[in-house]
């Protein structure tokens, strides 16, 4: 089926070329990081994880969100999602690959990456994260490909794939739970040390992921003969609405616990995020932007009149995506290190080279999605033509 990705119009090839340029730039910058070390990034002795690990965390959520189309279709027989499940699964594939690449570019000794397998350490959550992410990638490749192959042949998917599909549902929850455990199992970083971390991760994932799917579905409707219907998109919009509301609710739970108990160790991180700490306010504008975006999205989504208008819905989805991205992709990881164990502040800002490498990884993800969706659309175009 891959050959279908090799046939396309001029716009398709220009987009692929554009992505290749971004990937190339990222790769060249990565070579520079490889030779000079991670010192070319904005990370430091105090803030030892930054943009890369944050993107990894955010994208695990996007990957997990495929379950939001798979579950209603297969467990509740919600037929309208039938055509969207494969889009969700392919989005998951691209996201998991990006996750792995972000871990890889974050390593000081990437050529030793296989030490994770040579010296398996079940006591480390990172080991389980590798297992769950790898398993999820394989599951989605298997399911997505098999179902698409069946679709191409105009036959129902084979029976043996069903158990894998059912398995992929709890597995999706597991990848983001284990990723949350990476953080909330560390007693010394009070910002992360919260039992609600995994639920928070899941709620932000189930808002950002389906929001992205809605955006993709609307783009697909404009550029191909396959027209994702109004109904499934509205259903996805409902999912986004519930998830973003729950996400904001969870954040408020954290804020209540932290500020009512008034334990300084726990308050300092939240203060740094929203008002600044010891005169350092690097993330304050970002976090308020995130808050405003999420609240704005909730207003648009909760009100059925605005949610049902697709041009407003897409604005809400973009707001949800950017809002949750700032929260997880910028706030969550870095703030765990601010203040540091000495109660002093070392701020973090990614360098332009770090951003280029991250963009390169996103470019690879976008290329994978482009190719996979192209195959799906080519198959569906032919179905429609017949």
């Amino acid at each position: 089926m891959l050959e279908k990705a090799l046939v396309g119009n001029k716009k398709y090839w220009m987009f692929v070329f554009f992505l290749l340029v971004i990937i190339g730039l990222g790769f060249l910058t990565y070579l520079c990081q490889l030779s000079q070390g991670l010192g070319i990034t904005g990370m430091s002795r105090d803030v030892s994880w930054g943009l890369y690990i944050a993107q990894f965390t955010f994208l695990v959520g996007v990957a997990a969100s495929a379950v939001m189309v798979v579950l209603p279709y297969y467990l509740h027989d919600y037929k309208a999602f039938g055509k969207l499940t494969v889009l969700g699964e392919f989005l998951a594939i691209a996201s998991v690959i990006m996750c792995m690449l972000f871990i890889f570019v974050d390593m000081g000794q990437p050529f030793r990456a296989f030490n994770m397998i040579l010296h398996p350490t079940p006591g480390s959550v990172m080991f389980w994260d590798m297992v769950s992410l790898g398993g999820y990638l394989l599951l989605n490749m298997l399911i997505g490909w098999t179902c698409l192959e069946a679709e191409r042949k105009s036959v129902p998917p084979p029976k043996w794939i069903k158990p894998f599909i059912y398995l992929s549902i709890p597995w999706a929850v597991s990848i983001h739970t284990v990723t949350a455990f990476l953080y909330c199992g560390i007693g010394g970083r009070s910002f992360w040390f919260t039992a609600i971390m995994a639920p928070r991760f899941l709620s932000s994932a189930f808002s950002a992921g389906p929001a992205l799917l809605i955006i993709f579905a609307l783009i697909i409707r404009r550029i191909s003969h396959f027209k994702p219907g109004y109904e499934p998109i509205q259903k996805l919009a409902q999912i986004v609405t519930y998830a973003i509301c729950i996400n904001v609710f969870f954040v408020l739970l954290e804020i209540f616990t932290v500020f009512y108990s008034a334990i300084p160790e726990h308050m300092h991180h939240f203060k740094y995020l929203f008002v600044g700490l010891h005169g350092h306010t690097g993330l304050v504008p970002w976090m308020w932007a995130s808050t405003v975006l999420c609240l704005f999205a909730i207003v648009l989504l909760v009100n059925p009149k605005t949610r049902k208008k697709e041009h407003l819905l897409v604005i809400a989805c973009v707001a949800v995506f950017i809002g949750t991205w700032i929260d997880k992709g910028m706030g969550l990881v870095v703030t765990g290190f601010i203040p540091n164990p000495f109660d002093t502040v070392t701020e973090y800002m990614p360098t332009y080279r770090e951003v280029l490498i991250a963009l390169g990884v996103y470019g690879i993800g976008a290329l994978i999605i482009t190719v996979l969706y192209k195959i799906v659309l080519a198959i569906r175009d032919r179905e429609i033509a017949n």
């Binding site: 002795r45 974050d106 030793r112 030490n115 199992g185 010394g188």
Partner: protein
Amino acid sequence: MRGEGRVRTCIGEADDCYVSSSRAQRGDLPDALWKGIAVGLTLLAMTQNALLKAIVEDKKMGVKRRDFFKIAGVTALSALTATKAVSAFAFGPSGHGGETVSKDNAVRWAMVIDTRKCGKGAQCKNCPSLRACHEAHNVPDIPNKKHEVKWIWQDSYDHAFPTQTHALIKDELKTRPVMLLCNHCDNPPCVRVCPTKATFKREQDGLVMMDQHRCIGCRYCMSGCPYGARSFNWVEPKPHIKKINRAYPVRTLGVVEKCTFCAERLAKNQGPICVEACPEKAIVFGNLNDPKSEVRKILSVSDSVRRKPHLGTSPEVYYIM
């Protein structure tokens, strides 16, 4: 069992190996010979151990009592010899834990730092302990604070004990320097989180060690450590080392490092170099499991605290206030 109980020799080009050996000692035949014998005996002991286990487990084989004791005796003997050889001949940490080493924890190294004495002497402006440590272990002196590598350093009381300070604390305490280093925790979070066992707790004496050949540079241990005791090599360290000590390895780019309680010196029955270099005798090192040791004596008569004890890491560096 993969990787367990292996012995690291670090002879030759092991430039960034954590145990010192041996540029200076290379070609030193008796030493190398003893090391060889020790490796052989260790391997022998391990094989016999495995054999013994197999025999005990496999009841169908019906081993005679006498044979059993024979094997057991030889195993015990060779294990003992190997252990002796290992400790006697400057081996340093025997891989990860090491089945051949006694697990009765007769030794639990710990450090007591008397902050009342610290910084009082004429030489203390440029702390000799700190300098001695960093020179002996090829710790680079990197001007960019963000990329700093530190094994031992001084900070204020407020920063060392951020949860045990208040606004009206006496001035003398506020300005008193506190020596900070790896706490060699009994329950080390860095070891718990490491995905490759590159950092591990030595069974025989509780030291928290680093295998810089195995470290993948994921820096999970730095997130795990609540004491900020770990440094990552953000930049190439070599250009920032004024004078390279050929007897100790230089680390490579992209790995994490920290204080090892001078494992390479302990192996030669010497104490940590910071203890030796301190002109005020403010640092005392010893075996916590020995009731007669100096550390135990001091702890039994002084007011001592540890950093962030509420986290349950059980740090083994004690501070007299």
